[in-house]
């Protein structure tokens, strides 16, 4: 009995292995997205855009790799909005699903642990939305990681843009910051903003923190109110910002707020409503002021999902664009060849604008836009070039 069982098992294993062997003509690409947890809107946008990009390629008969056309197969993993599950998902995609490359995760606090796994397993990982410099830097050597790339600008640039915007456009001489000290993204950009703002002659009158999952910010906001700033910077995620603004208003704070690219989700408008009217934030692209390349993407996305693509969707689409471009140039479905092709890419015209890559850097140089929230819509306000 035992023998027959083990025989059965072996043959079943062989069958599974055999079928994977037979399907040689497909390229497997992995996606790690925040489908559940505290930012599901980010993960959903990422997944939607990934499927759109892959369907487009497959509808055209597949991707030209060397002499043959190969269909692309997508493997999507949920990281549940957790750092440990992001690393586990990367591990699973690389060793179990044997994907060629990974796109995601998006938030820096999940992208950093996943990038460590990708780097040590020598598999290309492109994060669409993680702007924290640490994502592409090796923590020990402070040199760029070999296998980790991104499709977005980085926080030192974004923080500089916002500091300049607050001082010059809003004429705010005194600023206050409230940020999540337990999250890599929020902490990184808050510190960069502070340095740049002070360098440009502004004064930070309050630099307050909280930890992830806090809902009560009344003590910090009362402190900020007492410091009398001209502007309040909230570099926090879309599910927290509405609470912070509402509580501030309840405490009688009338100071305008500014934010960073973590505001750029349609969910922000749903959760925050009229309370957010008139405020500005920096982000990757403006759907209402997009280049011709982007127009087609925006209409296709709207047709498929019934919503305007947010910045995560646009950046995911670009991450796949970068990946397809490199696979084509590599000419073979091989992890190392893809890395080599990707690291020698000089520039790329994407949905979120033109990207330039420097020789020894994994971070594209590209411009940012400032959007204003007007009548429940994100509207283009101005451009900021590097």
């Amino acid at each position: 009995m035992r023998k027959t069982l083990s025989l059965l098992l072996v043959s079943a294993l062989l069958a599974v292995g055999g079928s994977a062997w037979g399907a040689e003509k497909t390229l497997k690409l992995g996606v790690i997205a925040e489908l559940t947890g505290d930012m599901p809107a980010v993960g959903t946008s990422c997944k939607n855009a990934a499927e759109l990009a892959v369907n487009e390629v497959n509808a055209a008969g597949g991707l030209q790799v060397g002499k043959e056309k190969m269909k692309v197969q997508l493997v999507v993993e949920d990281n549940a909005g957790k750092a440990d599950q992001s690393a586990a998902a990367a591990q699973k995609l690389i060793t179990q699903d044997e994907v060629l490359a990974i796109v995601g995760p998006n938030a820096s606090r999940y992208a950093i642990p996943a990038s460590e796994i990708a780097e040590s397993s020598e598999t290309v990982l492109i994060t669409p939305w993680s702007t924290n410099p640490k994502t592409t830097l090796d923590a020990n050597t402070n040199q760029p990681k070999k296998y980790v790339f991104r499709a977005c600008f980085i926080d030192p640039f974004q923080g500089g843009v916002l500091a300049k915007f607050a001082l010059e456009k809003l004429k705010a001489k005194k600023a206050a910051v409230l940020y999540d000290v337990a999250s890599d993204y929020n902490k990184g950009i808050a510190e960069v903003f502070k340095t740049n703002y002070e360098k440009l002659g502004g004064k930070i009158v309050a630099f307050e923190t909280y930890t992830t999952n806090d809902k009560d910010f009344s003590a910090q906001l009362t402190k900020i109110k007492d410091a009398k700033p001209d502007v309040i910077f909230l570099p926090n995620y879309y599910s927290e910002v509405p609470l912070q603004v509402q509580q501030a208003k309840r405490l009688g704070i009338t100071t305008p707020f500014i934010g960073s690219d973590s505001w750029g989700s349609a969910e922000l408008l749903k959760l925050g409503g009229a309370d957010l009217n008139g405020y500005y934030f920096s982000t990757h692209y403006a759907a209402d002021n997009a280049a011709p390349v982007a127009k087609k993407f925006i209409t296709d996305y709207e047709k498929a999902y019934g919503a305007k693509p947010d910045d995560v969707a646009a950046l995911t689409y670009d991450a796949f664009g970068l990946l397809f471009n490199s696979i084509k140039r590599a000419g073979k479905a091989d992890r190392e060849a893809i890395r080599a092709a990707l690291s020698t890419l000089p520039s790329y015209k994407g949905v979120t604008g033109d990207m330039k890559f420097q020789a020894d850097s994994r971070d594209p140089i590209k411009s940012a836009v400032i959007l204003q929230i007007k009548d429940g819509q994100f509207t283009y306000f101005t451009n900021a070039n590097p």
């Binding site: 307050e208 809902k215 009344s218 402190k223 509402q246 309840r250």
Partner: protein, 295 residues
């Protein structure tokens, strides 16, 4: 008023609001412990389910504040009784560890069940028109007034029920002795269910008020608040109802005042160190009494 006084008055008001919510949840922990000497770790998630009931009643049924609050309290009470009947009652004579593990498991179940139904954070519509008064620089919102007074009202009501009614007397009797009290004709199962219903109902009320004060809710919101409420119950002396209320206001006060005094980064570190010191000085909590174990 001078600016310093205004600032401190505002912070005291913030602390009262936070403390009231902690207190309502802490009562559930302390009541169940008082009767069964069991820590119901799923209680924070009952609070979360309460917030979601509030969301359903306000959004899909379009109810105003008072019926929403009532419906949420009844809904949460039912969840509490259901948990007790289905999960805890069969384990009443099992080792205490089994009950605690079951409670943790139930908490995870409630979180993930809600997550499966509502993966996106939900926005609670403003059920009450919010009016802010400016009292010489201190801003007081109608919501704060309602939260503080409603919580205090519910707490006094509970105190009355426990100390002045037959049901309360039965509860105190069961917590005193589980062997002989049933022989006196006290329906133990019914009283335990009533205890769970009251505790969960108060958590439902806390969920409603929390959802109104912080109108973005998600399935994980109960974890941290639940822990804080549990800590409140412990510093007040777990098993003691008045102690839980005092503990909650102390925790809320310490959290807010540490942020007001120190850089906010040190909040949890300083707050919990202070509470740890309190436990060192009074290991049974502020109003708790040491139980002597007879061998």
């Amino acid at each position: 008023m001078s600016e310093g006084i205004v600032y401190w008055l505002q912070q005291i008001l913030n602390a009262l609001q936070l403390g009231s919510i902690y207190a309502l949840i802490a009562l559930g922990y302390t009541m169940v412990y008082g009767i069964l000497t069991m820590i119901n770790f799923a209680h924070g998630d009952v609070f979360m389910v309460g917030a979601f009931f509030c969301f359903l009643a306000a959004t899909y049924l379009g109810l105003p504040f008072a019926p929403t609050l009532l419906l949420t309290m009844i809904g949460a009470a039912l969840v509490g009784v259901l948990l007790e009947r289905l999960a805890y009652k069969p384990l009443r004579n099992a080792p205490r560890v089994s009950a605690i593990i079951t409670a943790l498991g139930l908490g995870l179940f409630l979180e993930n069940f809600t997550l499966a139904l509502a993966p996106y954070p939900k926005h609670i519509p403003p059920l009450l028109e919010n009016v802010s008064w400016d009292l010489g620089g201190v801003s007081l919102s109608s919501l704060q007034v309602i939260i503080i007074f409603l919580s205090l009202g519910l707490m006094f009501l509970l105190d009355y029920v426990v100390h002045r009614t037959p049901v309360g007397m039965a509860m105190r009797a069961i917590s005193w002795d589980k062997t002989f009290v049933p022989l006196m004709g006290v329906p133990v199962d019914l009283i335990i269910s009533v205890t769970f219903a009251i505790g969960a109902g108060l958590a439902g009320a806390a969920g409603t008020m929390y959802a109104l004060a912080y109108p973005v809710i998600d399935p994980y919101m109960g974890i941290m608040v639940g822990w804080k409420a549990f800590i409140s119950a412990v510093i007040g002396g777990i098993g003691n109802i008045r102690g839980a209320m005092i503990g909650a206001f102390i925790l809320g006060g310490v959290e807010i005042m540490v942020t007001a005094f120190f850089p906010s980064t040190y909040r949890d570190f300083v707050a919990f160190t202070l509470l740890l010191l309190l436990i060192v000085v009074r290991p049974y909590g502020i109003l708790g009494k040491p139980r002597t174990q007879k061998v």
